[in-house]
């Protein structure tokens, strides 16, 4: 069976499932109906693209002598699209917290439904697509081998985006299981498992074809990202659907066990989705762009295994002083503090790699994106360990400080390393000499940095003020401030935060324009030696 036929069959099955969902949902008056139509239309749309080239002659066999980068190219474009969408929604909800009536009198546009659209849009839409696109690129280069087939990467990329689409459209329709960063319902979760297993197999199959005896450190991180996210996703989403004809399901766990499971998932989504995967990016694109080897092999090893082991214990620091047994809280705090060691080793390893290339950091905004990401990685991991200490957490928990911390990581670390990697990768993939406009990369860098700093400082202020106001007592021994007092005091910081987010969003739009113009510009660069090793050639040890 040719890969084109395989694609058509998969899409036909998917379209049938979509139709079945639509019919079943319609019978119950359930929002599953709308999702059925989305799956159906999605499969038909992709099917049209496939059919357009279905009868074209097979490409020549010589294509197998080069890397397969088309899925990476599409993945980057999708990542930037999701970035603008997710950041736009994020900034919208930021303004809503300052001016609550800046929205429509409609269910879909209320804060509670928009907020997960923001988190899913940026984490899974932007971050996930960037991870998939870069991992395809990195695994082939570091293995010096082409992917084993063409079908699997497309299935992973397109299937993953269907999951994101179901997730975000679901929130607007009112479909959510409320588990933070795991909101999509049971059928979307099952679909993601299928996509993810294919992703893992694709990764392992490509590594099995490698011409290098050793697996490079970036791949350890990408592998950990794929494997552990699979474990987390399956366990956290165990649920019983109310009906197979409806979207709603009930979590297998309740109360304290559910809380621990959710934060075991939630914190390790940060660890293995937002950290491990992006460290994979950092370990490949930073040394490549700086043209320096990684500073220390041993630091890479200690950092990697430390992160893989310690992070999984840290989730319970989200539940200090709650009904979770204290021994679990204490374990979580202890491991969170220890986590600073591998985290800083990883950050230091990246920064020390730049020794001898600091003049490039000064001149090249792309490399500066990556350097600044490593700095924010170090800062936010320090802050995370600090906030996990029980007495600090008594002040910071439930406040905007947490939001500030998350965004120091998400904007300062995850988004900056992604933008840096994409600016390095786009000219390589599209065989251009450089980005359309290095000046616009520079503009984007300063907008992103300014936006992050404004955002984070605003949230540090509001969070600490909030925490202090909640626990301030008057001389007569009563609470000084009502909750409302603390909320009113947040207003200026909420405006500042929304401005910071806007700067960051504008930066992403500038980036999109620059990438688009780079792609449109005719190829000027001569063919480079960016090809896999032929099967007959033996690599040097």
């Amino acid at each position: 069976m040719s890969e084109r036929q395989r694609g058509l069959i998969v899409l036909a099955v998917l379209a049938f499932i979509g139709l079945a969902m639509a019919v079943a949902g319609a019978g119950r008056g359930d929002p599953l109906q709308a999702h059925g139509y989305i799956v159906l239309l999605f499969s038909i749309g992709i099917g049209c693209v496939l059919l357009k080239g279905y009868f074209a002659p097979e490409p020549p066999a010589t294509r197998l002598d080069s890397y397969y980068d088309d899925p990476s190219k599409v993945g980057i474009v999708l990542a930037m699209g999701w970035a603008v969408f997710g950041m736009f929604v994020g900034d919208w909800v930021a303004w809503l917290l300052a001016f609550p009536d800046l929205t429509f009198d409609a269910a879909w546009s209320s804060f509670g439904r928009l907020r997960p659209a923001h988190t899913t849009g940026v984490i899974f839409g932007f971050g996930g697509n960037a991870l998939i696109a870069t991992s395809f690129h990195v695994m082939q280069r570091t293995a010096r081998a082409r992917m084993p087939d063409q079908f699997s990467p497309w299935f992973v990329l397109i299937g993953y985006n269907l999951f994101c689409l179901l997730a975000v459209s679901g929130y607007f329709l009112g479909i959510t299981q409320s588990k933070e960063y795991a909101e999509p319902e049971w059928y979307a979760d099952i679909w993601l498992v299928i996509v993810w297993v294919t992703y893992l197999l694709l990764y392992l199959r490509t590594l099995a074809r490698r011409k290098e005896p050793h697996i490079y450190v970036a791949n350890w991180y990408y592998l950990a990202f794929i494997l552990v996210v699979a474990i987390l996703h399956v366990v956290n989403n165990l649920a019983v659907p109310a009906s197979f004809a409806g979207a709603k399901s009930y979590s297998a766990f309740a109360g304290v066990q559910d809380a621990m499971t959710q934060w075991w998932y939630g914190h390790n989504a940060v660890a293995f989705f937002l950290t491990a995967g992006f460290l994979g990016m950092l370990y490949y694109y930073l040394p490549k762009r700086a043209e320096r080897p990684i500073y220390s092999y041993r630091m890479s090893i200690i950092g990697f295994w430390g992160i893989t082991f310690f992070y999984m214990w840290a989730g319970s620091h989200h539940l200090h002083y709650t009904a979770l047994p204290q021994w679990v809280q204490t374990l979580g705090m202890t491991f969170s503090v220890m986590l600073i060691v591998p985290s800083w080793i990883a950050a230091a390893n990246a920064l020390l790699t730049l020794n001898g290339a600091w003049h490039k950091v000064r001149d090249d905004a792309t490399l500066r994106f990556m350097m600044m990401a490593a700095i924010f990685y170090g800062l936010s991991t320090f802050e995370g360990s600090f906030m996990a200490i029980r007495s600090v957490n008594s002040l910071s928990h439930y406040t905007d400080w947490t939001i500030g911390h998350v965004h120091a990581g998400a904007m300062g670390w995850v988004a900056l390393i992604t933008f840096g990697s994409i600016y390095a990768l786009v000219p390589w993939l599209w065989k251009r000499e450089r980005m359309y406009s290095p000046a616009l990369v520079e503009v984007h860098f300063w907008l992103a940095l300014a936006g992050t700093l404004v955002y984070v400082f605003a949230m540090w202020n509001s969070g600490i003020i909030q925490g202090l106001m909640w626990r301030t007592y008057s001389d007569s021994g009563t609470l000084t401030y009502s909750f409302l007092d603390s909320m009113v005091a947040m207003h200026p910081y909420y405006v500042a935060r929304a401005v910071g987010g806007l700067l960051f969003l504008i930066g992403a739009v500038v980036g999109c324009y620059n990438i688009w113009m780079t792609i449109r510009r005719p190829s000027g660069a001569e063919a480079t030696a960016d090809t896999p090793l032929p099967a007959t050639m033996q690599p040097a040890e």
Partner: protein
Amino acid sequence: MFGTHYRIERKSVILAVAIMIVASIGGLIEIAPLFTIDDTVETDPDMRVYTPLELAGRNIYIREGCYACHSQMIRTLQDEVERYGPYSLAVESKYDHPMLWGSKRTGPDLARIGGKYSDQWHTAHLTNPRDVVPQSIMPRYGWLGRAQLHTAHLGDDLRAMRAVGVPYTDAMIANAAADAVAQASPDDDTAGLVERYGEETQVRTFDGDRRTVSEMDALVAYLQILGKLSKAAEQPAKAVAAAATAPAAAEGGQARP
């Protein structure tokens, strides 16, 4: 050590298996005992279950993402106990699939909001929060009053809850839809509902509109039951395992002059 690694990193499957093992340890040690150690959740033989209307309200609370801004977990800190009431016990959310402890207080904690405000206040507040609290930044939920509650399939919801461990009886499941309507219709026959869910079941026209059972009815019914399913927190002697967290309460008083 580094020599061993030098060999391991040449075998992708060994590397993958090693990652899985190393990453599984923390979760196994922290999560598995929570299911086996009896002290983790206090026992409360008088614990009530959510009525179908309250469960429907809870699902609306989930659907609208209320948990993103409101916690339902009062910590063992003095200021929280004084502001919101007795600190939350594990037993109080033992029928919460999923739990809604929350992680952020853009608005106040709701673990014990039940009974603190009138139905009328809740309805007005949800319709436009700024009508009753001028400085509020909460979204308006006016459409909840206009949307009729879908009760037809509530039996499926109860059955799924029973599958994950909530003790709903066959009679509760069979009468779920009728019970949901009855709870918001005090003029009708509510004897069956009260018999199944207990004398303390709140039967009222929650949103003030007697003609239909709206989503507003369900949400207000849910808000009014918050903190009232179990009385364990009011009777500290009964709550054995709570002693484990009690020292933390004293520690939390540090901000007091």
